[in-house]
Symmetry: C2
């Protein structure tokens, strides 16, 4: 007879989950022991839970199905929360299996005891504590279904050790997916009326509208109606490059976003929320909708975004085609690396179908323009603002798409949150090329220190935003984790090393020495 | 007029908080800007929040006063939770200042928005959200008082950015400390009766009873009554070595603890809880109190443990002195490193007054015996079982006691959780010597896989407990963070490098290649 752990793994597999990113402990040992009996489940060891959860996020953004995580009690889940927060903001389906003490052990309040469900509640997703070996298989099937409900959310099963080790587990019964709702004709007609009214209209898109099929429909709508299209500031997955309609993203800085939206009379939301400032600042607006503009929601993020945009295109743009980006070949720039030329190098050498995990932060401000005419690629962005996402997301993306190159554009400060992701890249021989943008500073905070109006310039204040003293050597760190690495200081060297890294199997890291924004 | 951030920092200083470990973001920029105006506050940058919170824990275990942390919204606090969990289990006072969005910004649910108070509640400490600039100074004073209430706990102030940046802050009014309760004479008399009854009695000690004054009193009691003394398995701070009474710790493995406690008729608890197994195992007891033994609590952890043990010694051992450990000089062993000889090297070369941050895990099983006769030292242990504590605690200890050597005994798997602590050691030029015990495995999990009775031996299961493929190079990683490092494979080389590291200023890392336990 199968034990609970075996039923959990088989229920995951039967629900379509094929990969488990894990960092197990004692309470997960029966799960670990049961893995070899289920060849359909791939287990990927990560050396910190923030890598586990970020990898699950990156995997699902590419594979369009959830991965499982395996986490060790409350502290293990706590370590994974920041990247689960990012996954929540990306509406990524993730299924957490969090091992817990045996049921009878809770009352002793052993050192690792804590209220795991509280951590689950922080994620505003779905959480259930397994209560018996007989029902845990169903708990897992329900969790997978919950994770993919609507646009996707975090689903957590708390799995007491005795439920894992007891015999009598059975695979849960499949839960039919809930069909996503398409807006009714009335909503579509109202938005169509707005778009064809002649008033200045901006369409802001997110969710499936930022993938190629959605972008093609949106482009047709824009061509038919003259509306301006903007992509939300931090899309979970944005397809772009040659052959794909190309739209600007709404700016991260409120001032930039306000300039883009100035004069808008109607703002149509398609799979995204009304735009707000990332942070509040003294005497600056939080709500970025221009005064007097009307906001119209075509479709909520949780509903059928692609169906809605397709229906709208059918209504207002039946005779119109989409405009796609031409391929623009650019020359490799030369000279010392700058904020402007490193992104041009990326644009010049990017292979077709690359997945970019973008945590370049301030160093990447000029990336979108420089890669607009590159071969078609997908960009995964930092959706929830919790840094340390980029390298783990790259791990997950590479496991989801072993045949596609993955390019992690990673700023130095953020990289350190989850730096051991490099080791998993090495162990799994993943085709991830990391460009580590070393500017020896929390450059974004230097900018923010000025923007919030704080008095600055003091020695202590500046030392908290400075990553020199000592300078870090990311080549050494990367090699220490088993990933071959090289440092470059010129654009031509970056191009050479990027080209080499894309051509060779397995992970590489290129430390690019660039000046800080400020 | 001073702003809220300034009032927060001055209120910390007025309450006796002199160090702030931080990893700030935009919402903390006014706090950062205000630091230079308050020279009494030292600000220490850590590159990940788990380092911030672990450092605050280590600082307070040595300084006997809380440090502040500076954390960035919910995800920043989430990243710090695991080491706050350890601090909670150590009853360490910690004051968290968690920056949040401006009050008026919450309703926009910006990307970094989350319910920070929920994370505070997980820690079972004290949490308050500041509601005005006028009162935030008092919130901070109250938080410091709460952190030191009883045995110590985690106190968290959630600080909205607008409360920081608005003018009108004032320093809070001092809160007189609540005196810790000494048990009444009746309780002391009852325990005295048990101890003098002739029945087989074990005294289990924790909290202040594991520091030198408490240990001296306990030793007198043991000498007078014949009771056996054991130290709790994971004390927050244990003084030991020459000149200090030396007692065994209760074993981590339930089997070992049960053997130590076998035949006990009375178990007297002094500043600790009744012993329980760290994890549950099939068909093994969770409660480690022997069948039929009576448990007596002399004093709760939250009350005046040193006062209680001193009163008890006065009652039962007025004529008795303590037995202290002799200094035992040992020779440096030779040959390839083993689990037995590396700890002998530590015992042979340990300088007087060293603070040991012990996260050696399975590699350190023989450490206590090997260092028993070493010069007096203090050991800080992994109180809550959440790995990744050792290096951050060493950072905090070194800042609390700049004149004492700090020795971090760190296992490889656990080190990676908070490896960037090395950079803070380098920046602050801390006298921390890290012995990185590299056995290329989660060795404790190999043991636990067997202990839980899980079927093992499968390739996938074993790969999840294996840290080779690729092997990590901690010398490279350490150098990458700016800490000089060397690898050793023999006992004599370890002795040479340890001696050199203790003699030189600043941080060092010694990667000791040792065999795994299993």
């Amino acid at each position: 007879m199968t034990n609970g752990a075996n039923a959990v793994i088989n229920s995951l597999v039967e629900s379509g989950v094929q990969v488990c990113f894990g960092n197990p402990g004692t309470s997960e040992m029966h799960f670990v022991a049961a893995l070899d009996a289920v060849p359909q489940m791939r287990a990927v060891l990560c050396l910190f839970e923030g890598v586990v959860t970020g990898a699950a996020d990156g995997y699902a953004r590419v594979a369009d199905r959830p991965a499982a995580t395996l986490l060790h009690l409350g502290p293990g889940m706590a370590n994974g929360l920041a990247n689960l927060h990012n996954a929540r903001r990306a509406h990524t389906p993730v299924v957490n299996i969090v091992g817990d003490h045996a049921t009878h052990h809770h009352r002793y309040d052993a050192p690792l005891e804590s209220d795991i469900a509280t951590l689950g509640s922080w994620l505003q997703g779905w959480t259930r504590t397994a209560t018996s070996t007989e029902t845990v298989g169903q708990d897992v099937v329900d969790a997978v279904a919950a994770s993919t409900d609507g646009a996707g959310q975090i689903a957590t099963v708390i799995l007491p050790a005795d439920i894992s080790w007891t015999s009598g587990g059975t695979v849960g019964t499949a839960v039919p997916p809930v069909p996503r709702v398409v807006p009714d004709g009335q909503v579509i007609a109202e938005v169509a009326d707005v778009l064809t009214s002649g008033a200045k209209t901006v369409i802001l898109i997110g969710a499936d509208a930022t993938r190629v099929d959605g972008l093609l429909a949106v482009s047709r709508i824009a061509n038919a109606t003259g509306a301006t299209v903007l992509v939300e500031t931090f899309p979970a997955a944005l397809d772009r490059g040659a052959g794909v309609p190309g739209f600007d993203r709404l700016g991260y800085l409120a001032e930039a976003a306000q300039a883009q939206l100035e004069g808008t009379e109607h703002l149509v939301l398609i799979g995204t929320r009304s735009p707000v400032s990332f942070f509040a600042y003294p005497d600056k607006a939080s709500d970025l909708v221009p005064e007097g503009a009307q906001v119209h929601t075509l479709v909520d993020i949780r509903d059928d975004v692609l169906g809605a945009v397709t229906a709208l295109a059918g209504k207002v743009a039946a005779e119109h085609t989409a405009t796609v980006q031409d391929r623009v070949e650019v020359d490799v720039p030369t000279g010392d690396l700058t904020l402007a030329n490193w992104v041009q190098v990326v644009g010049a050498v990017l292979p077709e179908n690359t997945i970019i995990s973008d945590e370049a932060n301030t160093s990447g401000l000029m990336l979108p323009a420089a890669t607009a005419g590159a071969p078609r690629h997908r960009v995964l962005t930092l959706t929830g603002g919790a840094i340390g996402q980029g390298l783990p997301v790259a791990v997950g993306a590479a496991i989801a798409a072993p045949d596609r190159p993955v390019l992690a554009l990673q700023s130095d400060g953020s990289a350190l949150y989850t730096i051991s992701a490099l080791w998993t890249m090495a162990r799994e021989n993943l085709n991830v090329t990391t460009v580590l943008l070393n500017n020896s500073a929390y450059a974004i905070l230097r900018m923010e220190l000025q923007r919030v109006g704080a008095q600055s310039g003091g020695e202590k204040a500046n030392s908290l935003l400075d990553l020199s003293r000592p300078d870090m050597d990311f080549v050494a760190i990367s090699q220490g984790f088993g990933v071959p690495a090289v440092r470059v200081t010129t654009a031509e060297a970056l191009a050479t090393e990027l080209t080499r890294a894309f051509a060779e199997e397995g992970p590489h890291l290129i430390e690019a020495m660039i000046p800080p924004l400020l």
